[in-house]
């Protein structure tokens, strides 16, 4: 009994023999779909990600497509043979001769962003988050989700068009995949071996406008697993029910990501760094605008004005983001999101090997890792209410060089402004991530860690924070005091997806109540919250005082009448 339990829960890392078994499992999964998944998870599991591939094993819904004027299957340029991604890209660029120039300005390529208002230099190339911390220096692993080929380090040639990965966004067979660009420590690399070879000509001929599965392969798995990062972006959106996402469900509207994230010239709307939260533009009917806002389709007075409630709700849009009421909870559809990560427990070994503990079972039956030797302890949540705050759309980041006071409570990896008094602000929903993570104790800054690779410092395989930080900081030219500690951090993820059907929008009383969802937001009047305690107390005193007064008067009359009757 005990040993059976152990086999199920404790999975060793690093055995090649077992890896073979796993590939067999993959074939089974591909042929039988999701039902086999739960069984597969009872077996031994290796690697660092919770899903060794993203997308394909999930049920996929067809994506509605605009009809193309070109059948790429018939193009002689795409008949191949191709032996690599860059060869396909070269063929694409022969016809689409401005696509490369366009895409090289895109964040998916540059991993870099200069914030127009704060001036901060952001993007994956520099930022530290409170999941796996830094992509910088770990491109060998993280650049699986770079829309390019061969990004192995920060010295990547961003000027070479042939390294653009057209296929990851445009192929439609579902058979295309990406693997880490460098091998990495054996403890991790094992999970990426033995995949079936890519049929380059077939995937090249399948190109279409991006579907949910293209975007989802990376964006549903941010932070190292399904829905780990965002809370509102999970594999549940590959084929959601209307209750999970009323827009993306094939049973209702069948939106793909680019139905809302519109744009032109490989530049599309909807960046989290600078968000449009107060879209008050009233364009002429039918006028296209490149914004990814609810308002761009629904207007800022979307509720029917044939009822008091409708009129009243329309007046809310000046202060409340649509998402606040229409996304009543996140991590819906059976896929949990990570809410807490504790790096301090990283490095526990079992028989000298790293292992995973999968003690959280989410709604769809998958077991989620609650401990991984390479990462530490995790907590998950499903169907949770977001947190709410006034938000003006501008994100500030605690970047690598910024000093903070670790004694002042959790460090905010990203923070934002906004207030009731600012007409450009809205009450906005966020997923908040709490992480206890290493920092430079001497300089009071965040740190870059060397996670991936075969070097002596690489955390994933060597399990030594001191070495991983020293190497990560040195490799990337950052000053390091030589002493690390752990600091609590928060990061905030604006919630925009998983819009529920209107019948499931939040009830008024979710906020208009004592202990309501917005109880913590002060500085403005909101009926139903009992915010003016003095008034309530005086009111109660006045009413009961009057009642007491008339009661005394009545008793007085009764007593006097008895007295008169000589009783």
């Amino acid at each position: 009994m005990a040993s059976a339990y152990r086999r199920r829960r404790w999975s060793g890392i690093g055995s090649h023999a077992i890896a073979g078994l796993r590939h067999l499992t993959l074939v089974v999964l591909l042929s039988t779909g999701g039902a086999a998944l739960a069984a597969a998870e009872d077996g031994v599991e290796l690697g660092i990600s919770e899903y060794k591939s993203t997308g394909q094993e999930h049920p996929q819904a067809p994506n509605k497509q605009r009809e193309s004027t070109t059948d790429h299957r018939k193009l002689k340029e795409l008949q191949g043979p191709f032996s690599s991604g860059p060869e396909v890209t070269r063929a694409c660029l022969e016809c689409h001769n401005t696509a490369g120039h366009q895409f090289m300005r895109n964040k998916h390529w540059t991993w870099s962003y200069q914030h127009p208002l704060t001036g901060q230099k952001l993007g994956k190339r520099v930022l530290v988050n409170n999941f796996c911390t830094n992509a910088r220096g770990n491109e060998g692993m993280c650049a699986q989700c770079h829309a390019g080929y061969n990004m192995t380090g920060p010295d990547f040639d961003f000027g070479n068009q042939e390294n653009i990965d057209c296929l990851v966004c445009h192929e439609s067979t579902g058979s295309y995949y990406k693997t880490p660009t460098t091998k990495g420590n054996e403890a991790c690399s094992i999970m990426f071996e033995g995949k079936p070879p890519i049929d380059w000509a077939a995937v090249a001929q399948s190109v279409k406008m991006p579907g949910r599965s293209n975007c989802g392969k990376c964006h549903f798995y941010g932070g190292g697993g399904d829905n780990v990062k965002h809370g509102d972006l999970s594999s549940a959106l590959f084929d959601p029910s209307p209750a999970v996402d009323v827009h993306m469900s094939e049973a209702s509207n069948g939106f793909t990501c680019i139905t809302c994230h519109v744009g032109e010239g490989h530049d599309w709307a909807g960046s989290r760094y600078q968000m449009l939260v107060n879209d008050e533009n009233h364009p002429k009917p039918g006028m296209p605008r490149e914004v990814a806002t609810c308002v761009s389709c629904h207007s800022d007075r979307p509720h029917p004005i044939d009822s008091v409630e409708g009129i009243k709700l329309n007046s809310h849009t000046r202060h409340v983001a649509c998402e606040t009421c229409h996304i009543p909870s996140i991590a819906r559809g059976g896929v949990a999101t990570m809410v807490d990560w504790d790096w301090r427990t990283m490095g526990k070994l079992k028989d000298g090997q790293g292992f995973k503990l999968k003690e959280y079972t989410q709604g769809d039956g998958h077991h989620r890792a609650t401990y991984k030797s390479i990462k530490g302890d995790f907590k998950y949540a499903e169907n949770i209410a977001p947190i709410y705050a006034w938000f003006d759309g501008t994100m500030n980041y605690t970047t690598i060089g910024i000093r903070f006071d670790p004694g002042k409570g959790p460090v905010e990896i990203n923070s934002f402004g906004g207030s009731y008094g600012d007409p450009a602000s809205r009450i906005y929903p966020f997923k908040r991530m709490h992480t206890t993570m290493p920092y430079d104790k001497g300089n009071n800054t965040l740190v870059y860690m060397q996670l991936w690779g075969e070097s002596e410092g690489a955390l994933w395989g060597n399990y030594d924070f001191a070495k991983a930080i020293a190497e990560g900081m040195a490799n990337n030219g950052q000053p390091y005091s030589g002493e690390f500690g752990f600091v609590e951090t928060y990061s905030y993820w604006p919630v925009n997806h998983m819009v529920a059907p209107k019948e499931q929008a939040m009830d008024c009383a979710e906020c208009h109540a004592r202990e309501g969802r917005l109880q913590h937001l002060g500085g403005f009047y909101m009926p139903g919250t009992g915010s003016n305690e003095l008034l309530d107390r005086l009111g109660v005193i006045a009413v009961f005082g009057t009642l007491g007064g008339v009661l005394l008067h009545a008793i007085g009359r009764g007593v006097a009448a008895r007295g008169r009757r000589g009783l």
Binding site: I311, S315, H512, G539, T546, L547, A554, A560
Partner: protein, 219 residues
Amino acid sequence: MSTHTIRVFKRFERIWHWGQMAAIFTLLFTGFRIHGTYRLIDFGTAVTVHTWAAILLLLLWVFAIFWLFTTGQWRHYLPTAKNFVKVARFYAYGIFKGEDHPYRKTYRRKHNPLQALTYLLVKTVIFPAIWISGIAYLLVSFGLLDLAGANLGLEFIALVHTIAAVAIVLFIIAHIYLLTTGHSFVGHVKPMITGYDEVELSDEELAYLRSNEPDVLKR
């Protein structure tokens, strides 16, 4: 001088009174729900009902004000010092001694002076406070009016509205209690249902009514 049973509350007056009562109870019930005093009914429903009840009451008040001024009935509410002390003394003292109410309704003054002053204050202070703040609340929260420049935010408007609502509750408590202070509770309520009450009439008033408004006198 003689006592007669006449129709002291006209049909409109009775409709006004009971309509107003129904509206005010509805508004208090839904209003304190919106305020957050209790949660018996759905918030959205409370807002909807409160808004419609308020609109209906405002409409009723428009008619009432028109009626008061076109019929001259507004004179009943003019404050008077005559008999004021007597009535006040009765409620504070005489009522315990088993004295009779010192005030007799007359054709020109159907309210005792304390009553008249109370109703006047209700009509000129408490009700205006509630409807002005109520309309302001609706307009401001619908974004049709911005009083923030005048430092009159929603919070202040709601404060005035709530204080006025509490004052109305106090009025209702006293109003209902005072119905018990006469010969009988029913005796006090009945005139507002049937319209008829005993009123002191001078000989001239009686003669006038007999010849000009015979149906006012109960046969």
